[in-house]
Amino acid sequence: MKKSSVGYYGKKVLVFFFSIVILSLVVFYVARLAPGDPLVSYYGERAEKMKPQERAWAEKKLGLDAPIYVQYIRWAKNALRGDFGISFKYKRDVLEVIAARAGNTLILGGIGFVLIFGLSLLLGILCAWYEDRLLDRVICKVGTVTSCIPEFWLSLVLILIFAVYLHVLPSSGAYTIGKEEDLGDRIRHLILPMTIVVLNHLWYYAYMIRNKILEEVRADYVLLARAKGLNRRRILFGQCLRNVMPAYLSIMAISVPHVLGGTYIIETVFSYPGIGTLSYESARYQDYNLLMVLCILSGAAVILCNMIAQTINERIDPRIRAKEIMEESRVEYKGI
């Protein structure tokens, strides 16, 4: 058991690093092959008026003169030492630039994530409890409609209502200039983006959980428990939910990238200074070093979350493993 555990996690770690290397290679090549002048993002307007010698000097200074694979090897060597280069636009160390913004995204995404999962579990249970009755139907309908609304349009409408017509909430940014330390002001700036992050994902996950619970409720042990005289509440909370939990946890893990991707667009609409706006800028204006680190960070987060979900499925929930083994043997048998 112990030995197989080491092998199991060792393999995961290997796959993780392999994926990161491939990802960095792809992003590195695509970014550099894309048309656009990285010098513009470093020197601004001046880059267009440069003489050829000046250009050559500038490219050499930024390490853009060698063939791409040489550049990649150079970058990888430095990256392994923890040096990811400087951002062309901000002219500071990439990690510094990201660290300055990461907090904002973590607040938006993190609190949003917790809210989404608390509320979706609640809604899911509520729907399953009142299956096919009025409450369930109303929640389902409202949910389907809200999940159809593109997040950027919902943001626009909410800005229009609350910022333009009612003047109660700010329309952009993370704080009013000059009030950086004011907690109340920050919260006021968070309300609209947070509402959209939550609304946009809540329904999707609530529906998933509802269906999982409904599947579970149709199992035979529920019938047995009913026959023994247990009441509905004790069966649902004491037995069904415990069986749904592993699936719920793995859905949670997989959803991290979706929530993350959603915050990217919302941040851009609200000009919220976070990782999302930074990625958008860096991809548009050829800020190579910054783009690389951002892609690798989000890629690593996603791969890690997928692995956690897989581990939950395989290790924590023995039923899934048993089922898979059975299915595999069936498929292999048929394959012969």
């Binding site: 695509v30 389907t144 333009v164 409904l214 149709r218 667009i265 991809a283 892609c295 791969i303």
Partner: protein, 294 residues
């Protein structure tokens, strides 16, 4: 001997369900289909009834609220929103379908290769999809779009199609793995059927129903993707009118408080999406569901 003697205690009485005769329209999302048809027809035949050239900039009447002359008002460049809606809907819907065709084709071939191939190929391809899934698709789209250069209707469809196939491919692969050992597939192989023959004649008819829902949903996400990209200014340019590029002017509209520039294209967009979704849900809904034990 009567069968009564063999009746076991505790078994649920099996009720003979009478086949209920349903009218042809029952259980089908009729309203959604009708609205969707109306919007599609309106967009397709828009030349017949739109009052003005959608790209004509009427500099005397810019930023007008909806009135009798301009049914949905005019935007900040003096274009007639009513004409733009129908004209732009064409492009939005076209992108939705074209991108879905591209991504479904890629997904079916990719999933089938992965499902039919040997173990190592399968593992490799599935790892690849995971890596692709791991880049936020927005970044990916920006990068590909940058490589392709100036955005056009076709290039946007291509970009959205190329980034949207992974989840369908996963389902296709699972389904193919389950039926690849079936006798008819083996028989077709023995008789020398090629990959595409087997895929098209034997595999696709079997898994088409399980991906139908995802394919319809793909239309929806493609339309959303186009409008989001155009809104952010990395999709279609302002001159190419679509529901998304109409919304790209909304930042100015927010400043001037012209609600019609934001609400009208958005409502058309959302109504279309809701109809597509309910169509997708219709495909997914299983015919009979078992009874709850709770």
């Amino acid at each position: 001997m009567s069968t009564k003697g063999f009746e076991l205690a505790g078994i649920r009485p099996v009720e003979e369900e009478k086949p209920v005769k349903r009218k042809w329209y029952e259980g089908k999302p009729l309203a959604s289909i009708l609205i969707l048809l109306a919007i599609t027809a309106g967009c397709a035949a828009c030349q017949l009834f739109i009052p003005r050239d959608p790209s004509y900039m009427d500099l005397l009447n810019y930023n007008l609220a909806p009135c009798r002359e301009f049914l949905f008002g005019t935007d900040s460049m003096g274009r007639d929103v009513f004409s733009m809606i129908w004209y732009g809907g064409r492009i939005s819907l076209f992108i939705g379908f074209a991108a879905t065709v591209i991504s479904t084709a890629i997904a079916i071939v990719f999933g089938a290769v992965s499902g039919l191939g040997p173990q190592w190929l399968d593992t490799l391809l599935m790892r690849l999809t995971e890596i692709l899934l791991s880049v936020p698709s927005l970044l990916f789209v920006i990068l590909i779009q940058a490589v392709l250069g100036e955005a056009s209707v076709l290039s946007i469809s291509f970009v959205i199609g190329v980034t949207g196939w992974t989840s369908i491919a996963k389902v296709v692969r699972t389904e193919v793995r389950q039926i690849r050992g079936s006798e008819y597939v083996v028989a077709a192989k023995c008789m020398g059927g090629g990959f595409f023959h087997i895929l098209w004649r034997h595999l696709t008819p079997n898994f088409i129903s399980s991906i139908m829902f995802m394919v319809v949903m793909n239309v929806r996400s493609a339309i959303v993707a186009e409008s989001t990209l155009s809104f952010m200014g990395i999709g279609l340019p302002l001159e190419v009118i679509s529901w998304g590029s109409m919304l790209a002017l909304s930042e100015k509209a927010l400043l001037s408080g012209s609600w019609w520039l934001i609400l009208i294209p958005g409502v058309f967009l959302v109504v279309t999406l809701i109809c597509v979704t309910s169509l997708g849900n219709y495909f997914r809904r299983s015919a009979n569901r078992s009874q709850s034990n709770l």
